[in-house]
């Protein structure tokens, strides 16, 4: 019998391992389509000032149909809106707003919901009861009712929308993290850490949280899509960020009265927002698929 050499492969850094597991997404067609849509919009947002043919707020030529040639010879590929702003340029610049706002709001919601979920799931008892009760109360509001009341009462501004989205999304994140922590707290590596005498917060953040990352990443993608919808809805209801800077939901709201005669004014922003949300939803589905496989 050959002598067996016990070799322990060198431990890879956690960041690298996470990257490797995320890279499995290339095995899922659906996931790759989603990723492509997201990458497309990110590139559009980054290079907005190069790509946009016109300044987003310049009023040039009202009610132009798609393909009209403008006064200086350049073409309005997607037409212009009711006060003469180029729709393509507004969609391109609008992607910046969405792609900054939605991730920041989602991140804030996670920053609030995750520690609370960890604490509730790991410590249980009173901590859990109190936090769960608060979360359930916020979750008992139909989400949009909550947004409408908050925003209408405190006024629509960037920071208020951010706070409202954080406040309304955190309880959902809390619930998921709590559930995962309840499950993971009984693992042997947690007992080992407890025996080593590590502090509760170190156990929660270093032992439990990294092992809960799979479902959380999938949830974050879905949530990002949902936050994008929310920001769009608020814009559509007239509760969004103040004009004139382009906002996809706001663009649809401003021009929907004209949609029966000039459907191009609303349809292109609709396609923009739907494709971005679709990107995140497909990516989430793909990630779930590949994470179930291993």
């Amino acid at each position: 019998m050959a002598e067996q050499v016990l070799s322990i492969p060198p431990r890879e850094s956690p960041v690298w391992r996470m990257f490797k597991s995320l890279a499995l997404i290339r095995e899922s067609v659906v996931g790759m389509v989603g990723l492509a849509l997201i990458v497309f919009w990110v590139l559009v947002a980054v290079f907005a000032n190069v790509l946009a043919p016109f300044p987003p707020n310049a009023t040039i030529m009202p009610m132009a149909m798609p393909g009209t040639v403008g006064p200086d010879g350049s073409v309005f590929w997607l037409g212009t809106d009711h006060i003469g702003r180029d729709i393509l340029s507004r969609i391109i610049y609008g992607s910046r707003r969405v792609l900054i706002f939605a991730p920041v709001a989602t991140f804030c919601a996670y920053a609030l919901g995750t520690p609370m979920g960890l604490a509730a799931g790991y410590r249980r008892g009173m901590t859990d009861d109190v936090l769960s009760f608060i979360a359930n109360i916020i979750l008992s509001f139909p989400v949009l009712v909550l947004y409408v009341i908050i925003i209408a009462t405190v006024g629509a501004s960037a920071i208020n929308i951010l706070v409202a989205v954080t406040f309304a999304s955190a309880p959902g994140i809390f619930r998921i993290v709590r559930g995962l922590a309840l499950d993971l707290r009984n693992r042997e590596y947690v007992y080992a850490a407890e025996t080593r005498g590590e502090s509760p917060w170190r156990i929660m953040l270093v032992e439990i949280l990294p092992n809960a990352r799979g479902p959380l990443i999938v949830d974050a993608c879905l949530r990002l899509g949902y936050v994008i919808i929310t920001i769009g809805v608020l814009g559509f209801l007239g509760l969004g960020l103040p004009p004139p800077d382009p906002d996809w939901g706001g663009m649809i709201n401003e021009t929907r009265a004209l949609a029966t005669s000039f459907p191009h004014m609303t349809i292109y922003p609709v396609i923009a927002i739907s494709s971005l949300v679709l990107g995140f939803n497909l990516l989430a589905d793909g990630l779930r698929e590949v994470s179930l496989r291993d």
Partner: protein
């Protein structure tokens, strides 16, 4: 079982009380702003103080709250600032309109998504499953306001088949219900379908289904008699909780189609700072949400004999 129901009822009442406190604090803690909202911005300090005095706003906040709560429970919501009539007179008919819209949407969503979900979950990974799964993701990705605009463009502008607004100004007309209901259906069915699919797929991997298959039962019988019954427990909860989503959805849809329902009322009230109307609408919304959540919980426990209630 009884203990369980009573306990759920207790939680529900407690939730409602906390929500009412939060709402009261958010909207009425500053009595000066209440007076401005009720009397309008062009009133003198003196007038406002007289009004506040007459309506007991100088009493301590907790007494004001209990007074408010007492009135609320007996259905006395106060007068709408905008419509100058008691809130209830506007609210109840509007709620009935939303009920009709919601029922119309649910009447399609439930059978449609259960059928699609079961078909997809029956053979996980099959072509049919992929089509249904991706299709449901695509429809859920189109926000309600977006599909409202898209569907109006198609059915009102290009095909000229349906009316573009649903104000029902000349009495109730089912044709005007089609577009708003369609938007709700399109957005909501995907989620229920996916949940049904997941539940069905899980049941299909259980031992008793495998036993039934290996026993040589016809596939139909396995599905109908063994799998379905257990697979439909989870979707029941999802459908009940979907009502909570529907309440959010109707705000957008009713606004988009000028449908005179509860969602539009809440939005208008919020935009106009119609204080007592906001309070009543919000409480009704939370009440409906909490009730459906409770029914979902109790129903789930009742349907699923594996759960022991304590």
């Amino acid at each position: 079982m009884l203990v369980f129901i009573v306990r759920r009822l207790g939680t529900m009442i407690l939730t409602m009380v906390v929500v009412s406190i939060l709402l009261f604090l958010l909207l009425e803690i500053n009595s000066a702003s209440v007076a401005i909202k009720v009397l309008g911005p062009y009133t003198s300090e003196e007038q406002r103080n007289l009004w506040l005095e007459a309506h007991g706003y100088f009493r301590p906040i907790h007494i004001r709250y209990f007074d408010w709560l007492g009135n609320f429970i007996v259905g006395n919501f106060g007068d709408s600032i905008r419509f100058k009539v008691p809130v209830g007179e506007i609210l109840w008919p509007r709620l009935a309109n939303t009920g009709i819209l919601g029922l119309a949407a649910m009447a399609v969503v439930i059978p449609l998504s259960l059928t699609l979900g079961v078909l997809a979950g029956m053979r996980e990974g099959s072509k049919l499953d992929r089509v249904i799964s991706v299709g449901s993701i695509v429809t859920t990705s189109i926000p309600e306001f977006a599909s409202a605009v898209l569907l109006s463009a198609i059915f009102v502008y290009y095909l000229d088949l349906l009316p573009g607004t649903s104000s029902m100004s000349d009495g109730f007309s089912p044709v005007q219900l089609i577009l708003p209901a369609m938007v709700l259906i399109l957005y909501d069915f995907g989620y229920v379908t996916r949940m049904t699919r997941a539940s069905m797929a899980e049941v299909m991997t259980t031992h008793y289904v495998r036993t039934a298959v290996l026993k040589g039962l016809p596939y139909r019988a396995v599905i109908m008699r063994h799998a379905l019954r257990n697979a439909l427990i989870a979707p029941f909860t999802v459908i009940m909780l979907q009502i909570n989503w529907l309440l959010s959805g109707v705000i957008v849809v009713e606004f988009a189609f000028a449908y005179k329902g509860f969602g539009a009322l809440l939005l208008e009230a919020s935009l106009n700072q119609d204080l007592y109307m906001i309070e009543a609408c919000a409480m009704v919304a939370v009440f409906v949400a909490v009730i459906t959540q409770m029914v979902a919980d109790i129903g789930y426990t009742y349907l699923n004999p594996r759960i022991r209630f304590a």
